[in-house]
Amino acid sequence: MATQTRRNNVLPGFGLTLGFTLAYLGIVVLIPISTIFFKTFTLTWPQFWAAVASPRTIAAYRLSFGASMAGALANSVFGFIVAWSLVRYEFPGKTLIDVMVDLPFALPTSVAGITLTAIYASNGWIGRYLAPLGIKVAYTPLGVVVALTFVGLPFVVRTIQPVLEDLDQEYEEAAATLGASRLQTFVLVIAPALIPALLTGFALAFARALGEYGSVVFISGNMPMHTEVVPLLIMSKLEQFDYAGATAIALVMLTASFVLLLGINVLQRWSSRRLAA
């Protein structure tokens, strides 16, 4: 199954497929991406600075990064428990639950947005029980966290699950034989093996949440300085034809995503090295 160098490979089609791949990549992705840099070059420094560092933008960064972090943390805790339950325990409806975990990937974000708003509004199915406790979800930053937890839900589960399945239980048996308690085994034997996958899942959920628009736009209420996330701010700048301002903020967000992507790649390499060892 090893790939071969061009010279001693009998298979045809290398030029055709690579040529098509590069041409299509160029037209669909690289040319559109490059426009953001060209557009940014047309801005002066004061213009750029005014767009990326205005109080409204700073408030949006704070909410976007904070709520994405909170959502990714919630997913790390609960996603881990879900993955652990799916791999280690038997319970009725397990297959259905395993399949449903991917729902946030498959459900259009506008549907997720209006549905979460409906059930977490103060008269909604869940919101009505939270309102008497003084907890307001819809149209508050907490609503943003709920939406971002929803969109990031599959990532932690799906990165931990395969690692947990491949984890050889002999090490746990060895630990138990040598007198470790179950908690000690978990902390000293199981957890270290899962940490790279957990971090990868966290970073993927965080990156996804940072760019999310559809599910947030309905539940947040979009009040500038209060419940406006960065993608919403970019959208409102585009609607006012402030393309320069929108581009400058988009450049900041793109840079953040690429740094995250790089971090995820490093994590995954670390993780696969650990597994191979």
Binding site: P12, G13, I36, M100, V111, A176, G214, I234, M235
Partner: protein
């Protein structure tokens, strides 16, 4: 103990105390109920709140039909293009070595890390009437932004990596021995492709197609930027949901949403069905190795 898998003997050293097991399963179920199951049930409950007649009226309304038509048209253009790209890219990447392969893999993933709003904005910057290219197209009577072509382009962008990302590891896992045998025995390139390659990866291909299609039909943020929200003209189904909702036509918004939710559930079912078949059993070990290495 019934909770242990019946294929493997009970392994006492690896079992959690029953209290821990019950607590963790309960937490998992409550979390998933709050975030997955209650929302899905709520979509259908809200959609039917004004009765079955109102439900069918909402989904057969001319504007709803126009939105369904545009969603289907968009997917019918974007999905075949991206699946073709996925086949070409996976063939080049899984069957040959060339400098810059790792770089190419990273570039293919770019659309995953771009916010949908920014993806839509890229096409407004490139093809809006104020941009040089967009201006030139407008002079020749071609309108891209705030029109259907923009929606199709934005959809192609956001669904770009999906088929390729599924096909590359599968193509690697299946291996090239059978294809090499076909060529050595005198088959032509296309003959090998249709008789060996496609049958070998057909389930993986279908898997990639299903994922790509779900995202193409459900994309909201990117198409929202390029659509301009012209009623009955440039609304896809997810955009039409937003318009109805903002018009306080909640039951109708959820009725259209219920169609998209059914699509999502069908996608998950197809995914579950296809995932086992994507890689032939004899290659499964290789596939796992590839997945870990990727």
């Amino acid at each position: 103990m019934a909770s242990q898998s019946h294929r493997e003997p009970k392994r006492p050293g690896t079992a959690d105390p029953p209290a821990v097991r019950i607590a963790l399963i309960t937490i998992a179920l409550v979390f998933l109920a709050l975030f997955l199951f209650i929302p899905v049930i709520a979509v259908f409950a809200e959609a039917l709140q004004k009765g079955i007649g109102a439900y069918f009226a909402a989904i057969t309304d001319p504007e709803a039909r126009a939105a369904i038509r545009l969603t289907l048209t968009t997917a019918a253009i974007a999905v075949p293009l991206n699946v073709t790209f996925g086949i070409a890219a996976s063939w080049a990447i899984a069957r040959f070595d060339f400098p810059g392969k790792q770089m190419l893999l990273t570039l293919i993933d770019i659309p995953f890390s771009v916010s949908p709003v920014i993806a839509g904005m890229l096409f407004v910057l490139l093809l809006g009437v104020r941009a040089p290219l967009g201006g030139w197209l407008a002079e020749h009577g071609v309108r891209v932004i705030f029109a259907e072509p923009g929606i199709v382009l934005a959809t192609i962008f956001v669904t770009f990596p999906l088929a390729a990302r599924e096909l590359i590891p599968i193509m690697q896992a299946v291996g090239s021995e059978e294809e090499e045998a076909a060529i050595v025995l005198g088959a032509g390139g296309w003959q090998m492709f249709f008789r060996v390659t496609i049958p070998n990866v057909k389930w993986g291909l279908l898997y990639g197609l299903v994922l790509c299609n779900a995202r193409a039909m459900g994309e909201f943020g990117a198409v929202s930027v390029v659509s301009g929200h012209i009623r009955g003209h440039t609304n896809t189904m997810p955009l039409y949901v937003e318009i109805l909702y903002n018009d306080y036509q909640f039951a109708a918004a959820f009725a259209v949403s219920s169609l998209l939710t059914l699509l999502a559930i069908a996608t998950l079912a197809a995914k579950h069905f296809l995932a086992r078949r994507a890689v032939p059993a004899r290659h499964e070990q290789d596939h796992l190795a590839v997945k870990v290495a990727a």
